[in-house]
Symmetry: C2
Subunit: 466 residues, 2 copies
């Protein structure tokens, strides 16, 4: 009888579902990054494609025993590098835990595993006459777990709020393998600290989300649509300020600047004019005559602020085309950036809506100051703008200019009373910037909470908190 010493990886494999542990270097490396640029990835020790809560707990126990970092991932569609590998880590991918566990039509909630794709959930809910509004740009490819871990937003937020507004409860696995339930199943509840809220947007630094209970809404009413043409972004921004300040409640209010519109038109025919300074895309799904009244009010405000034309339509085809045009911004910019050397840095500042006019004035100065192109789209109704810096990624000077422009945009957001990230998160990309937004007391509290809940510091180290 001979006893063969087990390697740590064999030990881990024995604790997991068959096939969950991946040690093939090529496969591991193919999981090393999300969609952020300029975010280095370390070399992971191994990849675990978790199938069960037990798999996740086993990874945590093993990682704690061996003091190995754990980076939790879903579909890796994030834009801040939060899901990137760090050296020597276990990549804990939960995208395969993708079951919708329960749809409760009476209580208008559902329970899902973290790997469920947002759009897949929407599709199934629609069959029950229900909806889950949050709709990040990645809606077709990102997971609910990732959406919760980053508090994802989208186009619906201007009327329907962000992910955190829909999270009732969650099950998380902590660094030591403890499985715990946070939050509540009921419409209201104040028993203890709101730990579920603390985990929303925690970017894998406090634990791994293995189940979520979401509040739902009845199927949303169909919207009607308007497109406003503006000579420049400043007048479009001032229109948003005035329209939203009047108490309007559009179901969508998006802005595309002139360069973005050109990119979208080069990408596909969505019926947008080519020669505008900026476009505002607006929808209202108010009941009865409310929607028409709301878009008429928009038209008045837009024209008073210099809009050359506002086109209103109640044709559902126009509404779909409008959303398709907005959703095409991502791929259209990517295609355009490819022709300019492949560099694209998507920023994500959010400013008070009152500051949108000034934001665009000063963004113009940033654009002029650096030898890169800035094209802006965003969730204007929330003041959440995504200026993209397009540059030649093969040109060292261009890269440096792009990074400076990117930083200048964040500083502009802060200067106007806003935030460095409205919905994409901090991750690796903006970790050095967090201390520019938060004061010393808040930063210290972040570290205290991190140290308390993850005392070994193994959960997504170097992300968010730097």
């Amino acid at each position: 009888m001979s006893i063969t010493a087990q390697t740590p990886m064999q030990d881990l494999e024995a604790r997991l579902s068959p096939g969950a542990l991946v040690t093939d270097r090529d496969i591991i490396d193919s999981y090393a990054v999300d969609r952020a640029l300029f975010c280095p990835a370390g070399q992971a020790l191994a990849l675990v494609r978790a199938r069960t809560v037990d798999d996740v707990a086993a990874v945590m126990v093993f990682a704690t025993e061996h003091r190995i970092p754990v980076v939790t991932q879903g579909a890796r569609t994030g834009l801040s590098g939060a899901a990137n590998a760090v050296d020597g880590c276990l990549l804990l991918n939960v995208a395969g835990m993708d079951e919708i566990l329960e749809i409760d039509a009476v209580n208008q909630t559902c329970r899902v595993q973290p790997g469920v794709i947002n759009q897949d959930l929407k599709t199934v809910l629609a069959e029950h006459g229900l909806s889950y509004p949050p709709d990040p740009g990645s809606v077709a490819i990102s997971t609910i777990g990732g959406n919760v871990a980053t508090n994802a937003g989208g186009m619906c937020c201007v009327k329907y709020g962000v992910t955190k507004d829909y999270v009732r409860a969650m099950t998380v696995v902590l660094a030591d393998g403890t499985v715990t339930k946070l939050g509540r199943q009921t419409a209201k509840g104040v028993a203890g600290l709101d730990l579920a809220a603390l985990f929303v947007g925690s970017e894998g630094t406090l634990g791994t989300i293995v189940e979520v209970t979401l509040a739902l809404k009845p199927a949303l009413p169909s919207p009607i649509t308007a497109v406003g043409m503006f000579p420049d972004t400043e007048s479009a921004g001032r229109t948003v300020t005035e329209f939203m300040g009047s108490g309007a409640s559009p179901s969508l209010l998006e802005l595309l600047d002139g360069p973005t519109v050109k990119m979208v038109n080069a990408y596909g025919d969505f019926g947008l004019p080519d020669d505008v300074g900026a476009l505002l895309l607006v929808q209202s799904n108010a009941k009865g005559a409310g929607a028409v009244e709301e878009l008429e009010a928009f038209q008045r405000v837009a024209e008073a602020n210099g809009s050359s034309e506002v086109f209103v339509s109640d044709d559902p085809a126009d509404s779909e085309m409008l959303v398709a045009a907005r959703r095409a911004v991502g791929p259209a910019m990517e295609k355009y950036a490819h022709t300019r050397g492949g560099g694209e840095l998507i920023d994500d500042v959010c400013v008070p809506r009152s500051a949108l006019g000034e934001f665009f004035e000063k963004l113009r100065l940033i654009d002029a100051r650096f030898d890169v192109e800035v094209a802006t789209a965003g969730h204007a109704g929330d003041g959440n703008m995504h200026p993209s810096v397009v540059f030649d990624a093969g040109d060292e000077d261009q890269v440096s200019q792009a990074q400076e422009a990117f930083a200048a945009i964040m500083q502009l957001g802060l200067d106007l009373g806003g935030t460095i990230t409205g919905e994409h998160g901090v991750g690796y990309l903006k970790r050095e910037w967090l201390s520019n937004e938060l004061d010393a007391g808040a930063l210290l509290m972040h570290q205290q909470i991190k140290d308390a809940i993850d005392p070994s510091g193994i959960l997504n180290p170097g992300k968010m908190l730097g």
Copy 2:
């Protein structure tokens, strides 16, 4: 020249605004309790009526130096004993910090000090065409700071959510005197952990809230009103389940059981029938024809579930009378309880809306099991019910029975998948029960966070976490 040694209280007084420190025993003792029953109060060392953020910080620094507990209070209208004195504490009362600092109509936000009375804020906002929906029963007398510290709810929640849905940012003073800003001014933001959310509902255990930025809504539309009469609470509960499960969005949906209606009628004439098993009060402020359609749908569901009569009115006077009747429940019960020996324990369970029928069936059994009276009102649309146990406070056996009935009601809430507290908080009253609702992992995390943020344990010790 002689140097007189300063006492610690003289030292504290010198650090505070003139007159802020109160050492008169009678005055101190008059601040020792909130409105909870069966929650003992300790003897406080002194009372500080803070005027400024500096006062609050000075109290914290002094308390940390001397390891003295600090109990923060507002208007002391809470129902869980969270604001009660503990032995040797400083009572830190911030009710006098009651300025509305800014109303920003364009961004639809306001900044307020913690002592602003909820109704006073509503009144001022109405002049600007704005509203702050959360409306706890104590709306006329409770403070925004207290509302935030307990995540207060109310009648509006069924459509407009709870306090946490309106908190954008806050300034807090930590145990060591650090003043820090949490949250964001913008509509969206994900820079770091959501520490503002962690402080909402933290009941003074993590720090003292000295400023809050609230999101606002445009003035809410006027509602129309319905009252449904039911033979028993079960049929009323099933009506709520079915009506809410249909995706209805009433702006108010309250239940009063038969004994409660009798108490209200004995208190004043609000036009309610005397001989009913239960009443549902419903309002809709949907736009256009939506409100009438919604209440017609309610009527159909109510009649299908056994309602003998549903009265619908679009007369604003009826609407006001209805709300007045609901708001009269508190004083009416108090008056009735006074005739029965003065004992009244108000419970606050919240169950899934699907469980309301079963909740009332089993509540009836509890009522029968104990030699006390149970009268129930509550925010039925959210499943948040307030069964009140009425008893003779001078009779030892009655007191014991009342406490057992109170506990049985919480256990019923938990058995049905609900929570021990929907909106009143844990405080002292339910601290022993928190461990019945939360699992070991969540409880440990509570303690870890408490220890991390308040390492000396001076902030409201013995509350919430026991």
